[in-house]
Symmetry: C2
Subunit: 535 residues, 2 copies
């Protein structure tokens, strides 16, 4: 029975909507606040601004225990085929735990991943030391990563985060959409002679990747560069890209037991990240992931950070009726984690039925997700969250800042970092408390939930913890909702229809509908035929 | 009476939910589809995939006519004080129509704006020609724009869009959040000796801008550069920044009759954009805005693109119950328009009461808004929109592409640009039609609305039209919902609470609550005191 049909939780949600349980009152209770502050896996999670009392939290964790989601999480890590629709194991956790064997169909997945990782580190070392050179004898200066969705967003999030603290050997440039503008904008400042190209695609048949890699190949050739010396493939064994000879410099394998959006700690992420930051940083990143994985699997329900965060999602989405939540890191380097989280969450959990095929009522389906960094979001969409449609906010803060050179700019004796934190805490309180005094247009209802996730630092270790936390949290929502967070069959339909349209566009099949014909003609003419006489 | 209480529309929405009105059926009707295709203001809008028949559209436009929203729009353009709560005129439209006088409190607003614009063009010319130099005698090579929210997002959206087609004299770099990481990341590749700094803030008291400009000033000084030779203020007359002597090189005025999120065509945008692209490009951009403004004000309700789009929002949000909509440009250079639109929409329309103080039921409040570019979004959050929670999608396409050098990469005789369009159209159809055949996990309900806005090109003229279209569409939603889309009092509460917290942080006022104390101590120590003994 999915958790969304729980009567006790339903009744509790009605109770929590009574004025006595407004966050203004709940936040008065110091014991409650202390009890809703958690530490684990190297992170801190503050849930005191959730619309719940201890009875709600106890009930939620009981439900999680009854459903056995922690066991399911451990089953996932042990290599069971928890991706039921595709009959696949789900082993992103093995990518960061190379020492612990995990058997899938008679093979040790961890050992396979460890072999790839060793090869990656050796390759990155060689690129940094100049043992590997471009076809004209140049050292590589940049890495162009060609990949889309899960082959881009997680890597990019980690890369952008780590850039703030760790020196970069080889900067990464990302190319994903099929829009030729993107190709032009991303390559125009690169020197083909010094650009190493990673093509990342499990199937190597993704249209965007297939086309962009051809465009890159032409770009290299037209500059007198031999593509096979500059291109590296990250792909599955046996894919059309798994073919070293004459086509690329080397192939690094990815495996069907790690899906795109969970792949940032596999070769998809570790190859470009090793080229950017070197082996040591990537190892610390993986250690951070591993630490959070262990916490997510082993910590009891009532102390398990990603599980508790997932329970808050269930509570806010299924019981309090919020259709969306918002992730707002108060740390500029974490901007791209908002986009990664959006994919991770919405692609994993955007399903309309349970594992057993039971339809999920729309208002019980997983929430939409978006985000941006603070304080920028305060000057953008926060207005609506204060006075219009509310949405639970997941704040992310970082305790330490090594950049305190400008402590004198506040005029209040505060460093910019302290000023940043005073904003984060003030916004969280403003959502919770609201405003009761002032002119009508100044009033805010308050009672809007938020949580604060705190990292001690922005180093590789903490970024690993954060990535694994977001992954585990997403998986736990899937387990609680009894859906499969590892497939994405909803995107197939668009692909099929696009393939049909391609045939109309190329003239292979005459167009069957005016809807398409209109656009086809407009693309050829540069404008639509007038629908009616000009005014 | 706000439009959301309309009984006829309510009844029509129930009817449209019947299976006979599934988009699969509605799209069969060619006459309906042709009737729902619009051209105006230099753009095309295709609404055939909205969940409506002609009766709905006729009823919606009738309501708009009854409410007199077009007259209200004209009143806005004529200088009436339509921002009631702040008793201000709203004249972003005058910024792009310098020849047409608009009187506010006895002054010609258009003439004031035109004077500033002339000064901007002269300044940009001088910077390009090397008549204006840095304090060490260097030509300027980059422009650092310090501003947040409306002082950044619109300018950035236009800049990123125009970069794809127009050569850049002086690249722009943006600095907004107070996070010192952002300062470090944005300035570390700039040469202070060749960096011109624009500080953009109407009040010049916005914390982020006040602090960042001091950090920039120190950065310049520490490099032996005289800040007053490198800094330019864009601010209101009489603000603390309206002070040329010894502090900055020049001051360009902005006016209280143009709010931040509507300011991209005022000095806030035209100064940096002129420095980036030169006068000619900016004039074409302004001409594009002007053309759309004229259309938005004059075209009858049933042919008025921004008004029709606004009516779709009312229909989807208030009557069909969608809590959010998504904007997805299939054009990489338009990525930042998603973030600009998010601010424009959510800050303008995130209100819980009408102009007369009547509370708006939560489910009738304006929608949340987010977006990203296609095709990337297909590999990210589209899964949820296909199978989980639906959301109306506003696709944006561009007909012409000058970048057809790589026509041979498709393998289907299609250019990448045609491939991009086949994806756009396929996704729109997939949302509408759904999928009825296949295994249970492959099925998609369909009947999910979308619209397609088409630009002929990505040149300055069309970017101006797009900007003005999004502004007008936002204003029209406000007028239809009877709310004030020009104030943002909801953000005040957070500012007040942050000011209180600053005093606790600095020790000026002893902390009053444990919630704050915990974080204060953690910031000092670098970690939280353990909440309980370590496991």
């Amino acid at each position: 029975m999915p958790i969304f049909h729980d009567k006790k939780l339903k009744n509790l949600s009605l109770k929590m909507k009574e004025p006595a349980f407004h966050l203004r009152s709940l936040l008065q209770d110091k014991e409650r606040c202390a009890a809703l502050f958690y530490e684990g896996g190297g992170l801190y999670l503050d849930l005191c601004r959730q619309n719940m009392n201890s009875e709600v939290m106890v009930t939620l964790t009981e439900k999680a225990r009854e459903r056995g989601v922690r066991q399911s999480f451990q089953d996932m890590m042990a290599g069971l085929k928890v991706n039921a629709s595709e009959k696949r194991a789900v082993l992103h956790t093995a990518a960061r735990n190379p020492g612990a064997p995990v058997w899938v169909d008679g093979n040790d997945a961890a050992a396979m991943l460890a072999t790839v990782l060793r090869k990656i580190f050796a390759f990155a070392d060689a690129a940094h030391n100049g043992e590997i050179l471009g076809s004209a004898g140049n050292r590589f200066s940049h890495v162009l990563v060609v990949g889309i969705g899960g082959s881009r967003l997680g890597t990019e999030a980690v890369y952008e985060a780590l850039k703030a603290r760790h020196p970069v050997w080889l900067p990464l440039v990302f190319l994903s959409t099929i829009d030729p503008n993107a190709f032009y904008l991303q390559t125009r400042e690169l020197n083909p002679k010094t650009t190493l190209v990673l093509v990342v695609s499990k199937s190597f048949t993704t249209r965007e990747v297939a086309m962009n890699q051809k465009m890159v190949r032409n770009w290299l050739k037209n500059s007198g560069v031999e593509p096979s010396d500059h291109m590296i493939h990250v792909t599955a064994k046996g894919s059309p890209g798994d073919c070293k000879q004459d086509i690329c410099r080397d192939v690094f394998h990815m495996f069907e037991f790690i899906g795109g959006r969970y792949s940032a700690s596999s070769a998809v992420g570790t190859l470009p990240l090793s080229l950017a930051f070197g082996k040591d940083v990537v190892e610390r990143f993986l250690a951070g992931c591993r630490e959070m994985d262990a916490h997510a699997a082993q910590a009891p329900e009532e102390k398990n950070l990603p599980l508790l965060a997932a329970l808050c999602d269930i509570w806010n989405g299924e019981y309090l009726g919020f259709p969306a939540f918002v992730m707002v890191p108060y740390a500029a380097p974490l901007l791209f984690f908002s986009f990664h989280m959006q994919q991770l969450y919405m692609e994993s959990l955007g399903k309309g039925q349970t594992l057993s095929g039971q339809p999920i009522p729309p208002e019980k389906q997983a929430m939409l997700c978006f985000g941006h960094i603070g304080t920028d979001a305060q000057h953008s969409f926060f207005q609506m969250l204060h006075q219009g449609r509310g949405a639970p906010v997941e704040f992310i803060g970082v305790l330490n800042s090594p950049l305190e050179a400008c402590a004198d700019v506040s005029g209040h004796g505060l460093t910019p970092h302290e000023e940043l934190w005073s904003n984060l805490l003030a916004q969280a309180d403003a959502f919770a408390l609201g405003r009761r005094e002032g002119r009508p247009e100044q009033l805010c209802p308050g009672n809007r939930p938020s949580s604060i996730l705190t990292l001690r630092d922005l180093d590789a270790n903490h970024i690993g913890r954060l990535l694994a936390y977001l992954e585990a949290r997403t998986v736990y929502v899937g387990l609680l909702k009894d859906i499969n967070p590892f497939d994405q069959f909803g995107v197939e339909n668009g692909k099929t229809l696009a393939a049909d349209l391609r045939k109309h566009f190329s003239g292979e099949v005459p167009s069957s509908g005016e809807r398409v014909e209109t656009y086809l003609n407009a693309l050829r003419q540069g404008f639509f035929r007038d629908q009616e006489p000009k005014r």
